[in-house]
């Protein structure tokens, strides 16, 4: 063992102090600590995790019998109960009473937004429900943002004060609730759903809610609440991948209804992407519906006997590229590296014939320790994919965080069928089930390299330049 008396030279101590001071000289505690405190408090609030931002509300599970999941929703019987006023529109009247500090303002949106009788019933119902769970409110505390009969469904979206604020005026909470039921239902017949508790960092935060008919369906409606500063909201309707690595997103504008809500029906492609952007202020994002993510699509093409967990990891890496429904899984394979480690790859083909490649190295032995996290990476292949059996790809990834192995990339290789080994320069590794892995230590310089696939006779059957990769933890 080395001596414990070895000291750090004073000059080195000074350099390290200077390094840290230089790097952190502009760091300030506020408002970051306020936000961290706020986040922690929010996480501790009961039920918060289930109603996270960007939630997906499954309306069909709530009242599917009454809703009627007809493909032609316009044919449903006209509703009984309160009817929307003839002048109901996005320019409905402003809600009565003082507004809670939600950051949202303006008239109530939706076809029922100007129906004062209806709004009064809604507020009374919300006050009643909240009182039953010992959260006393007055009707004036309830800010209805949007309420509408649409496609056979009656919706109410409202925000409520979010509780006592202990940290001063810079941090505010609000809670949001959705009431949903068959079109025309009275307020006391609507199902009451508490969606979550949200904060208003900088007083300018919106959030999105995707609605779908059943737990396995894609969202087909989006409701986004945004601050008055937001002037435009668009949803992603398509994605196009290019060989140079760029992704072009097609956007479609949503309609503003009322002062704070942007709504729109979604196509199947839009519901899958569940992506939006705004102009004028931030809106918190959401993710794809859980049952439709690339990892679930990848396993549908995996051969029997595959390590599906590893393939899901590879598919999860592809989420970084966020393929749309137009990109189809064509390959998903796995191969053991050791007793505990597995390498997996999946390929999605774009309509233009490009390949989106995801790799993952999964080691269950060390999954709980940071030293051996699963490594994942994804990229757009430079070469088109024709027959998946002859396709070859190499992905280089760096480990996180960038430490001493900053640019020491590992190379995950997918070879054509028939390859038994892969080679980079003088380093050769075996191929198992079309997969091979070069560890960073084998390629100390990192960077872009040419990788060759060889058959049992040692003949090069394919070669490819490693891709620029993105590792996702």
């Amino acid at each position: 063992m080395e001596s414990s008396t070895q000291e750090l030279p004073a000059e080195l101590v000074e350099r390290l102090h200077r390094l840290a001071a230089t790097q952190m000289s502009e760091s300030r505690p506020w408002p970051g600590v306020d936000r961290a405190v706020h986040r922690m408090q929010r996480r501790r609030l009961a039920g918060m995790s289930a109603a996270a931002l960007g939630c997906v509300l499954i309306i069909g599970m709530t009242f599917s019998g009454a809703l009627g999941l007809s493909s032609d929703r316009s044919q449903q019987a006209p509703p009984a109960g309160p009817k929307p006023s003839a002048s109901a529109s996005a320019t409905a009247t402003a809600p009565t009473g003082p507004l809670p500090a939600s950051g949202f303002s303006g008239p109530v949106g939706g076809s029922l937004g100007s129906d004062k009788t209806w709004l009064k019933q809604v507020r009374a119902r919300i006050v009643e429900v909240e009182a039953s769970v010992k959260r006393p409110l007055t009707a004036a505390d309830v800010q209805v943002l949007w309420t509408s009969d649409r496609d056979g469904v009656r919706y109410v979206y409202a925000v409520l004060p979010g509780g006592k604020n202990k940290l001063g005026p810079g941090l505010r909470y609000f809670r949001d609730v959705v009431l949903v039921g068959p079109a025309g239902a009275s307020a006391d017949k609507l199902v009451y759903k508490t969606m979550g508790t949200h904060d208003l960092e900088d007083g300018n935060v919106g959030h999105a809610m995707y609605l779908r008919r059943t737990a396995t369906a894609l969202p087909d409606f989006v409701l986004i609440a945004a601050s008055p500063a937001v002037t435009e909201v668009e949803v992603a309707s398509s994605r196009k991948f290019s060989v140079d690595g760029t992704v072009t997103v097609g956007w479609r504008s949503l309609r503003r209804e009322g002062g704070a809500v942007w709504v729109g029906r979604l196509t199947r492609a839009e519901g899958y992407l569940s992506e939006f952007r705004s102009v004028g202020g931030p809106i918190r994002n959401s993710t794809n519906a859980a049952t439709h993510q690339p990892k679930h699509r990848a396993v549908t093409v995996a051969p029997a006997g595959s390590n599906l967990a590893a393939i899901k990891d590879a598919g999860a890496a592809l989420s970084w590229l966020n393929p749309s429904l137009a990109e189809q899984p064509v390959l998903a394979i796995s191969a053991p590296l050791t007793d505990t480690a597995t390498l997996a790859a999946t390929v999605f083909r774009t309509p233009e014939g490009l390949a989106l490649v995801g790799f993952a190295e999964r080691d269950v032995k060390f999954k709980e320790t940071w030293r051996h996290l699963t490594r994942r990476g994804a990229a757009i292949a430079k070469q088109p994919i024709g027959d998946p059996d002859t396709f070859m790809a190499v992905l280089s990834t760096v480990k996180l965080p960038p430490a001493r192995e900053d640019l020491n990339a590992g190379y995950a290789v997918l070879t054509p069928v028939g390859a038994t080994s892969a080679r980079i320069g003088d380093v050769t590794v075996p191929v198992r089930n079309r997969l091979a892995l070069f560890e960073p230590s084998a390629i100390p310089d990192g960077g872009y390299v040419t990788v060759e696939a060889l058959n049992a006779q040692g003949t090069v059957i394919a070669s490819v330049l490693s891709l620029r990769g993105t590792e996702v933890p």
Binding site: P9, D406, V472
Partner: protein
């Protein structure tokens, strides 16, 4: 704002610079260092009344920061780390990807990053904050012997990286 809240804010303001420096020396990343200290301060805030009553809020805060800095990898969020573009592939592998900014000593930073986090923390607490081996051991949750060996090897490695002698000890690289 009540007295507790005012005291907490004053405490954070006074201690921020020191704590964030410690976090940086352990994580070697500005953003992560700030995240760690913010998270640690949120924990301090949660227990502020009892922490203040115990009379050792600074020690509690520093422990929270060290813990956060050593464990941030387990909770990290998705980050994008692009590889070197092909036209820059000749850049030195020792050159950090994300720290080519003014005022940074890249060689020193690379040397610091060559240490495993626990060893980096031991060196930072022992020599840069001038804490005793016993204090350092308490903060790191290890024995004094471990602190001694970690700091000794850490110093040796820093010197090896920063001085002309070749680096031979690659332990802890992964």
């Amino acid at each position: 704002m009540d007295d507790d809240e005012a005291d907490f804010r004053e405490f954070v303001t006074l201690r921020w610079s020191s704590l964030v420096t410690t976090a940086y020396l352990i994580t070697t990343d500005r953003g992560i260092a700030e995240d760690c200290v913010q998270e640690a301060m949120a924990r301090v805030h949660r227990h502020w009344r009892s922490v203040r009553k115990d009379g050792k809020p600074a020690a509690y805060a520093r422990q929270a920061v060290v813990n956060a800095a050593l464990s941030w990898r387990r909770r990290r969020r998705i980050r994008e780390v692009p590889l070197t573009p092909a036209d820059q592939a000749t850049r030195s592998a020792a050159e950090p990807v994300d720290q080519r900014v003014q005022g940074v000593d890249p060689t020193l930073l690379a040397a610091l990053r060559s240490l495993p986090p626990q060893m980096r923390a031991a060196v930072a607490l022992r020599y840069l904050e001038d804490r005793s081996e016993a204090e350092t051991a308490v903060l790191l949750g290890c024995s004094v012997g471990t602190v001694k060996s970690s700091t000794s090897r850490g110093v040796a490695r820093l010197r090896a990286v920063l001085e002309p002698a070749p680096l031979t000890d690659r332990e802890g690289a992964r």
